[in-house]
Amino acid sequence: MKELSVAEFGRRLAHLLVSLFILLCVTFVIGRILPTDPVGAIVGELADPAAYAAMRARLGLDLPIYQQFFLYLNGLAHGDFGTAVLTGNPVSSDLAQAFPATFELATLAVIISTFVGVPLGLVAALFRDSFIDKTARVLALVGHSIPVFWFGIVGLVIFYAGLNWVGGPGRIDVFYEGLVTPQTGLLLVDSLLQGETEIFWNALGHIILPAIILAYAAMAYITRMTRSFTLEQLSQDYVIAARAKGVSPLGTIWHHVLPNIAVQLITILAISYGGLLEGAVVTEIVFSWPGIGQYMTNALMIGDMNAVVAGTIIVGFIFMLLNFFADVAYAVFDPRMREAAR
C-alpha cells in the first residue's frame, strides 16, 4: 500500500504543479492583454509623458511581454511575487495581511454551514415530503437563488441598523483599531491570546453576520446535497434490512447512512470551503471586509497584475490543495479505495 501511495502522491503533486503553472501563464497573459493602465493609476490623469514613461519603466512594463513573463517567473522562483502597485508593499506581505481576514470569515462560515446544513439535510431526507423537508427545501432554494448582496444589505438593515444586535461593517469598531497586535492575523484568536476579551466580543459581533450570510448560501448547497445523498442510501437494501432488524431511524442514519455518504459529503464540504476561501468578493465589499476578495478586486480595477496573478495563484493553490485533501479523505473513508490500494 505504501509504495503505491507514494507514487500516487507524487503523480497528484505533479498534476498540481502543472495545473498551477498553466493557471499562472493564463492569468499573466490575460493580465497583460487587458486594456487597463496601472501606470495611469499611479501617476495620475494629468501626468506628463516623461513622468509616465519613467513610471512605466520602473514597473518593467516597457519590456516585451515574454521578458516580463520571464522576469516574473524568475522572481517567483525566488519566492518573490513582486510589488503591489496599490500599496507599494511586496505582494506576499499584502496577501499575508488580507488572507487571514478571509480565512477567519470562511472558516467560521463553513463551520456554521456544516453544523446546520448536514443535520438539516439528513432530517429532510428522513422525513421526506414532511413539513420539515419542505421548509428545508424552500430555505435551500432561497439561499441558493437570492444574491448574497441582497442578504448582506437586508441583514445589515435589520440586525445592525434596526435591532443593533450585531456590529457594523469592518472587522471591529474603529476605536479598537490597533489595540491588538497581529500574531496569527485572526482577530478572534489574537484578541483571546492577548487577553483582550472586550475586543474578542466586539470582533465576534462584527464577524457573525457576514459569516451567517456566507454560511447560508453554502448551507443551501450542503443541505440539498446531503438530502439527496441520504435519500439515495435510504432506498438501499441494507437500510431496509437494518430497519427490519429493528434499528431505530436515528441509529440507521448514524451507523449506516452517515458512513456511506461521508466520502461524498467531504467532497461537497471541501468545495464549499474552497469557494468561501477564494474571498467572497461581494460579501467583503458589502461588509467592508479587508480580505483577499476585496484586495484582488481593487487590484484588478487598477490593473495591478502582480497582485492579481499572485492572488490567483494562492486561490488556485488552495482549491487544488482542498481537492487533494478530499482525494486523500476518499482513500481513508472509502473501504473500496483501501481495498484497491492493497
Binding site: 487587458l34 486594456p35 487597463t36 493602465d37 496601472p38 495611469g40 493609476a41 499611479i42 501617476v43 495620475g44 490623469e45 494629468l46 501626468a47 506628463d48 509623458p49 516623461a50 513622468a51 509616465y52 519613467a54 513610471m55 502597485v85 496599490l86 500599496t87 507599494g88 499584502d94 495581511q97 444589505i153 445589515l156 438593515v157 445592525y160 441598523a161 435591532l163 443593533n164 444586535w165 450585531v166 456590529g167 457594523g168 461593517p169 469592518g170 469598531d173 474603529v174 476605536f175 483599531e177 490597533g178 466580543w201 466586539n202 459581533g205 465589499i285 458589502v286 461588509f287 467592508s288 479587508p290 476585496q294 484586495y295 481593487n298 480595477m301 487598477i302 490593473g303
Partner: protein, 531 residues
C-alpha cells in the same frame, strides 16, 4: 389554539430580546471623527507624489504649506507668516513652528521640499512644471536666505498671484528634511517610506494607513496653532453606498462622502443630518475626438451641443452632483461670462448636421467610467442624440481602462471630469484652453485638450498671455475674451455640468467646511454629544 400560543410565545421572546438587547455597539467616541468614503484610488500619501482627491484631503491635514487658501479662495499664511512680492520673485518669512518630530521648520526644509517635488518628478510635479519650474532650475530659483527666510524666484512663466495659488496645493507640502533623509533607499528620496508615513508639521500625524481599509490620523498636540479638537480622525473605506448610508444613520460614521444620488436623497430634510454641496470648480465634460472624420467639423460639434438636454439631465440625473453650464468657468467666479444658448433643439441640431453634409447621421462610440452619475449621463446623451440622427454605442469600463483610452486618443466621445486648481477663471479654464502642440508626436497625454486632438493655437496663446498679465483689470478682460473665443470655436471639450461633491454630515459635527480643492482642514472640527 396550541399553534397560536406557540406563535405568540416566539413573538414574545423576539420582542423581549429586542428590547433588552444591550447597546453593545456604541456610536463613535466624541473626540474621534470618523469619515466614510472610498479609498480605492488612494495609492500613496507622499505629498510630492499623490494628486488623487482623497489622498490630498488626508495629506493637507498632515502637512502645512507656505501658504494656504480658504474655501472661498483667499490666500492666507500657513508656515510663512508674511511674504513680500517684487519684480523677480517672492520672499517668505517663516514663523516659529516645529515638525511633529520636534525638529524646527526652517528654510532648508522648504528648499528641500520643493526640490524633492521636482526631482521625484511624479504626477504632483506637474503643478510647478506647468509654470516653468523643473528639476534643473529649481535649485537656482528656490533658495534659503537665512534660517527663516526663503526666496522663490519667478520662472518667467508666472505671475505672483498664480505662483501663490500653486503654493497652496498639497503638492508643495513642506516635509521634515532631516526625518525624510533617514529613510532614503536607492535614491528614492524616501518615497517608499513616505507613501505610508508622514513627516510634516500639520495638525495631524499619520498613525496607520491600511490600503482599502482605513487611514488613522492622530492629533499633533504640539501643532503651532494649538492642538486639534479631535484626538483622532479615522477615514474608513466603505465601498458600498447603501452600507455607508446605514453606518451614517447608525452613528458609526460622522461624515459620508461618495454616496449615490438615491442614498443621498434619503438624507434630504432628515433630522440630525445636513447635506453639504462642495463646489469643485470643475466640470463633467463631453470630450470629442477632433481627429474623428465627423467630429473635426465645428458644425457637427455644435450640433452635438444642441443635441443634449442639459436642464432635463440636471433635474433627473445630476441632482446634487451638478449644475448645467457650458462655459468651463463656474458662474459665480469673477469675470465668468453668461452661458451660450446651447440647449436641446432637435431641429436646429439636425439642420447643423445637414449643413455639415451629414444629413443621414452617423454612428459614434461613447466611453465612460461605469460610475454614478456618469453612466446615467451617458445613457441620457445617447437617447437625445438618437433623435438628431447620431447613433451612440456606449462602452463602459473601469477608471484605468477609460483613462488609458483617453490618453491614447482612442475614443470618439468620452465623459471625463475636471477640477479647478485655483478659484478663478484660469484655475478652472486653463485645462480647456491650452494645447501648445497638437501633433501626435508631441504625445502630450497629460494635456486635456491634446487628448481630444483639438488644435487651438489662438486660444492657447491667449491663455498664456492671461496667465502672465500682472494687472488684475487687464487680466479680467483677457479672461472674458478667452471664454468667448472658447464658445465661438465650438469646443471639442464641451463642459456640460459644473461638478459638485455632495457629502452628508451628522449634525453632531461642527466646523467642517469642505474645500473646493480638497484642502479641507480638520483641526477645528468638533463633535457635540447630542444632535
Amino acid at each position: 389554539m396550541k399553534h397560536f400560543s406557540k406563535g405568540l410565545f416566539v413573538g414574545a421572546v423576539i420582542g423581549a430580546l429586542t428590547i433588552s438587547a444591550p447597546q453593545l455597539y456604541a456610536a463613535t467616541p466624541k473626540d474621534q471623527l470618523v469619515i466614510g468614503t472610498s479609498l480605492a484610488q488612494v495609492l500613496s500619501l507622499d505629498p510630492h507624489q499623490a494628486t488623487e482627491g482623497k489622498a490630498v484631503e488626508i495629506m493637507s491635514n498632515l502637512y502645512d504649506r507656505l501658504v494656504n487658501s480658504t474655501p472661498d479662495g483667499k490666500i492666507v499664511p500657513q508656515l510663512a507668516e508674511s511674504w513680500k512680492v517684487d519684480d523677480k520673485g517672492i520672499t517668505f518669512t517663516l514663523r516659529q513652528a516645529n515638525f511633529a518630530t520636534g525638529n524646527p521648520v526652517t528654510s532648508k526644509d522648504v528648499v528641500y521640499s520643493l526640490g524633492r517635488l521636482l526631482k521625484l518628478d511624479q504626477a504632483a510635479a506637474a503643478n510647478l512644471k506647468r509654470i516653468g519650474y523643473d528639476k534643473d532650475n529649481i535649485d537656482k530659483l528656490v533658495t534659503a536666505v537665512d534660517d527663516k527666510t526663503v526666496r522663490v524666484d519667478f520662472s518667467g512663466q508666472v505671475t505672483a498671484e498664480m505662483l501663490l495659488y500653486r503654493l497652496t496645493t498639497s503638492t508643495t507640502s513642506v516635509v521634515d528634511s532631516i526625518e525624510v533623509q533617514k529613510h532614503v533607499a536607492d535614491n528614492d528620496w524616501g518615497n517608499a517610506w513616505m507613501r505610508t508615513h508622514s513627516a510634516g508639521s500639520g495638525p495631524f500625524t499619520l498613525n496607520r494607513w491600511s490600503p482599502n481599509e482605513l487611514v488613522i490620523l492622530d492629533a499633533n498636540k504640539d501643532y503651532v496653532a494649538g492642538a486639534p479638537k479631535m484626538k483622532r480622525v479615522i477615514v474608513r473605506h466603505v465601498p458600498e453606498s447603501q452600507v455607508e448610508r446605514l453606518m451614517l444613520e447608525r452613528g458609526d460614521i460622522d461624515i459620508a462622502s461618495a454616496l449615490t444620488a438615491s442614498d443621498l436623497a434619503t438624507f434630504k430634510d432628515k433630522q440630525g443630518f445636513t447635506i453639504q454641496r462642495i463646489p469643485t470648480g470643475g466640470f463633467y465634460v463631453l470630450s470629442m475626438n477632433a481627429g474623428n472624420q465627423y467630429l473635426s467639423n465645428p458644425k457637427v460639434r455644435e450640433a452635438i451641443a444642441y443635441g443634449i438636454d442639459y436642464k432635463g439631465i440636471e433635474k433627473t440625473i445630476m441632482g446634487p452632483y451638478g449644475r448645467a453650464r457650458n462655459v468651463p468657468v463656474p458662474e459665480n467666479f469673477e469675470y465668468a461670462i453668461a452661458n451660450p444658448d446651447w440647449h436641446l433643439d432637435v431641429e436646429k441640431s439636425k439642420q447643423l448636421l445637414a449643413e455639415a453634409g451629414f444629413k443621414d447621421g452617423f454612428s459614434l462610440t461613447l466611453k465612460t467610467i461605469a460610475q454614478t452619475p456618469r453612466i446615467d449621463l451617458a445613457t441620457a446623451i445617447q437617447a437625445s442624440l438618437a433623435q438628431v440622427g447620431i447613433k451612440i454605442d456606449i462602452q463602459q469600463g473601469n477608471g484605468s481602462e477609460i483613462i488609458a483610452a483617453h490618453r491614447a486618443r482612442d475614443f470618439d466621445l468620452l465623459i471625463p471630469q475636471t477640477s479647478a486648481y485655483m478659484p478663478n477663471v484660469l484655475g478652472s479654464m486653463e485645462q480647456f484652453s491650452s494645447n501648445p502642440d497638437n501633433s501626435k508626436e508631441a504625445n502630450n497625454a497629460g494635456n486635456f485638450v491634446w487628448r481630444s486632438a483639438w488644435d487651438i493655437p489662438e486660444l492657447t496663446a491667449l491663455t498664456a498671455k492671461a496667465s502672465m498679465e500682472p494687472d488684475p483689470k487687464k487680466r479680467g478682460e483677457l479672461y472674458v475674451q478667452m471664454q468667448k473665443m472658447f464658445v465661438e470655436q465650438k469646443p471639442a471639450v464641451l463642459p456640460m455640468f459644473e461638478r459638485f461633491e455632495p457629502i452628508v454630515l451628522s449634525s453632531k459635527v461642527q466646523g467642517y467646511i469642505g474645500h473646493p480643492t480638497q484642502l479641507t482642514r480638520l483641526e477645528n472640527v468638533t463633535k457635540s454629544e447630542t444632535q
